[in-house]
């Protein structure tokens, strides 16, 4: 499939659920959606459009919440498609993608440890992945107030 076809399919299927569609250039696309729609979007991107999940990056914004970007790529195409969700404080939680994409397990654990985001239905994050095990609870290094 070409990028034009993929773009059309995404826009047709999700129409109103796309809050904002921004193209930085031909190859970098950023789409804002509501956290509740994340799983539906991901299933479509991963299973129907056969994309690849690259990484998720979180940032603590000065707007009172944490923003997570989920980056996808379509194998032989140069475009990187990023889904943006905004999680308002204090209940910073979102549905986990690990049931759909096994490779998301560690990625979500890292965001949990560094930013304190809770992922509902994540298989396990009892032990710290990258921070030392005796790291104080509640101390999230990438938060602005740390």
């Amino acid at each position: 499939m070409t990028w034009k076809e993929i773009k059309k399919q995404i826009k047709d299927k999700f129409d109103k659920k796309i809050l904002k569609w921004y193209e930085h250039n031909d190859n970098r696309i950023y789409v804002d959606i509501k956290p509740e729609d994340l799983v539906e979007f991901t299933e479509y991107l991963f299973k129907e459009l056969k994309s690849r999940f690259i990484i998720a990056s979180g940032v603590d914004t000065p707007r009172g919440g944490i923003e997570i970007l989920y980056h996808f790529d379509f194998f032989q195409l140069p475009q990187v498609f990023s889904l943006r969700v905004f999680l308002k404080k204090p209940e910073i939680e979102v549905e986990s993608l690990s049931p759909i994409i096994t490779g998301a397990k560690w990625i979500e654990r890292e965001i949990h440890e560094l930013l304190g985001v809770k992922f509902k239905n994540h298989p396990d994050y009892k032990q710290h992945l990258i921070l030392p095990n005796d790291w104080p609870e509640g101390n999230y290094p990438l938060r602005r107030d740390q």
């Binding site: 921070l131 030392p132 290094p141 740390q146």
Partner: protein, 141 residues
């Protein structure tokens, strides 16, 4: 003490400990074993356990996760033993200065005898540093 030190300087067995490094220095240390530099002809052997070691080659930033282990390795090394800090990170964190996982430098945790700077130090530099240390020890013994 004098006899042991003398024996140590003849053919030191070294144990390599990395405390959170980027592996540049570690690869250069292993490189010293390859035919071009060939440490073994000088009698220096890399061993697999600190209990057999005379010298500790320390690389890396001394992250929190590695501090406990580094101290244990040092305790296991039979004394007299020397500690050699290799690379800019082992000297004082280098570009990583200020990170939240490295509150101490290597010499605040272990008693370092010689520092070999470089990012990474070339194998020639590592060999020169080790040779300098051995000369110092021979003069002491």
């Amino acid at each position: 003490m004098g006899l042991k030190l003398k024996a140590l300087t003849r053919s030191p067995w070294v144990y390599h400990l990395s405390t959170g490094s980027c592996n540049n220095c570690d690869i250069e240390i292993l490189d010293c074993l390859t035919p071009r530099f060939d440490l073994e002809r000088l009698g220096i052997v890399l061993v697999g356990s600190p209990r057999h070691a005379d010298a500790l080659l320390v690389t890396g930033n001394m992250t929190i996760k590695s501090m406990k282990r580094a101290k244990e390795v040092y305790e296991q090394m039979p004394k007299p033993g020397v500690v050699i800090a290799i690379g800019t990170c082992a000297l004082g964190h280098g570009v990583f200065d200020g990170s939240y996982v490295m509150p101490n430098t290597v010499d605040e945790v272990l008693p370092v005898d010689i520092y070999i700077p470089g990012c990474p130090p070339k194998p020639e530099g590592i060999i020169a540093g080790v040779a300098k240390l051995l000369t110092m020890l021979r003069q002491k013994a």
